[in-house]
């Protein structure tokens, strides 16, 4: 019983944190949580801009045509603190984006999970520790 109580209180405190923390802008005014998208493409441009970064990608369609998408990511300050520099994300890299599409159907998405083809997740640091990407982590070589 004691264990259950502890779990409950811990969960409540996490919820409390979520209540306090506010994002820079509203998800609901911009994206559709019922329109998940998975995009695989090539980065054409990385905008390291405030308040949030935007990654532009070319997605190849089955018929051979290419569709340009832009995907919203985290704030540059956080990205940098987690070890990503402009050297770490460049045009030409392959990326898989899981996210949610703009409400009006534009080729614009909120990036929930951004995975480079070397397995690294944008914003997560090299091995999930937040360590800088400096070549010292074996996981970086993959």
């Amino acid at each position: 019983m004691k264990t259950i109580l502890v779990v409950t209180s811990a969960a409540a405190l996490v919820v409390g944190v979520a209540d306090v923390a506010s994002a820079h802008h509203s998800f609901a005014a911009e994206f559709d949580a019922n329109a998940p998208v998975t995009l695989r493409g090539t980065i054409t441009k990385m905008e390291w801009i405030n308040p949030h970064s935007w990654i532009h990608i070319d997605v190849k369609n089955p018929d051979g045509t290419v569709t340009e998408w832009m995907v919203e990511g985290g704030t540059p300050n956080t990205l940098f603190r987690r070890g990503f520099t402009r050297e770490a994300v460049k045009a030409g890299m392959e990326i898989t984006v899981e996210g949610y599409r703009a409400k009006n159907g534009a080729n614009r998405a909120n990036g929930r999970d951004l995975i480079l083809n070397d397995g690294r997740r944008l914003f997560m640091g090299s091995s999930g520790t937040g360590a800088p990407i400096d070549g010292k982590d074996a996981a970086e070589a993959k």
Binding site: G16, A21, H24, H25, S26, F27, N50, D113
Partner: protein, 339 residues
């Protein structure tokens, strides 16, 4: 906001106070009367001209919530077990891809944010230290009416134009005291001093306030500003900053232009500054209330947050709204034809 990663410095700086706190947590998880907050420890660093030295980049992120979750009752301190579990959960959220427990409607998955991995060093169940229940006092009837009017006027959340969006979405200001309270990222301030002045730059939305220390008269009560108007003085080793003259265009948890803040910054260690803010607004809350947190030397520099430079979000929100208007008009027109 969310991981100037290893908080080794913070952990090392816990010292005697947290040891005492953890004893409380282990032996007395039951209700205990709220203790009057102890005076901050003082680390007597001085500037070359003899003022207490608060200069540096200070990191205030913490996973301790502003308000005490209801299930803690009137318990002030976390147990060791709770601290361990909360910090493990926080690390997991930051270090793992989002799973099904992460709502789709977050602008950022937790791992893209920087809200911290540690509870505040005093291990309280809330950042609010007064009132003793750790919760924001109730809104006055006047404040409730004001909030209803704000909502009716779509002051925060309408999409007719940019004026209806929040000052944060518009990249105008995070406001006060929000600019010094934990959020999803950018939880840093830089303090710079010169004889007669203290300047505080808040990383979130990159606001700087310049605080005179020369006892000059406050500005006219007719003048209202986004960031209010601040005056500072020293109380021993503590910088006391009083701020009034707020604009009604922004608010903190329903506050009005009559909000009056008293902030206290105390250098409590080589790498530590204690921050306390008392919020008083008789038109908003039934009594004043106080938040306390402990800042640490930031692991890195303060970075620019030039929020205006690429604020596509505001454009996109308004574009979505206009497209929705057009779609609604088209549907209405179709309905009219079919009738």
């Amino acid at each position: 906001m969310n991981a100037r990663v290893a908080m080794v410095a913070a952990l090392l700086s816990f010292g005697v106070a947290s040891a005492v706190v953890s004893l409380h947590a282990q032996s007395a998880p039951a209700a205990k009367p709220a203790a009057k907050p102890a005076a901050a420890k003082v680390y007597a660093a001085k500037t070359p001209w003899g003022d207490p030295d608060l200069q540096g980049v200070w990191d205030y992120k913490t996973i301790t919530p502003l308000e005490r979750p209801q299930n803690f009752g009137d318990r002030q301190f976390l147990t060791d077990e709770e601290v361990a579990r909360l910090e493990a959960n926080a690390a997991k959220r930051l270090d793992q891809p989002p799973d099904e427990t992460v709502p789709a409607t977050l602008v950022h998955a937790p791992y893209m944010t920087d809200p911290g991995r540690k509870v505040d060093e005093d291990r309280r169940t809330s950042l609010i230290v007064d009132p003793p229940d750790g919760r924001v006092p109730p809104l006055t009837p006047e404040a409730q009416r004001r909030q209803a009017l704000r909502q009716a006027g779509n002051r925060n959340g309408g999409t007719d134009g940019p004026e209806q969006r929040s000052s944060l979405e518009r990249c105008i200001t995070m406001g006060l005291p929000s600019g010094n309270l934990p959020t999803l990222y950018n939880n840093n301030i830089r303090i710079v001093q010169s004889p007669g002045y203290v300047a505080i730059t808040h990383e979130m939305v990159h606001d700087t306030r310049i605080i005179p220390l020369d006892n000059r008269a406050p500005i006219s009560p007719k003048i209202h500003q986004w960031f209010g108007d601040s005056r500072g003085h020293w109380d021993g080793n503590t910088l006391v900053v009083e701020t009034a003259n707020f604009s009604d265009k922004t608010n903190y948890r329903g506050s009005g232009a009559t909000l009056h803040l008293v902030e206290r910054f105390t250098r409590s260690g080589k790498n530590n500054v204690e921050y306390r803010v008392t919020l008083d607004d008789p038109t908003t809350w039934t009594k004043p209330w106080t938040i306390e947190l402990h800042m640490r030397t930031s692991e890195g520099d303060l970075y620019e947050y030039a929020c205006h430079e690429g604020n596509y979000g505001l454009h996109n929100i308004l574009e979505e709204a206009r497209d929705a208007d057009k779609a609604a008009a088209k549907n209405a027109s179709k309905a009219g034809v079919s009738e």
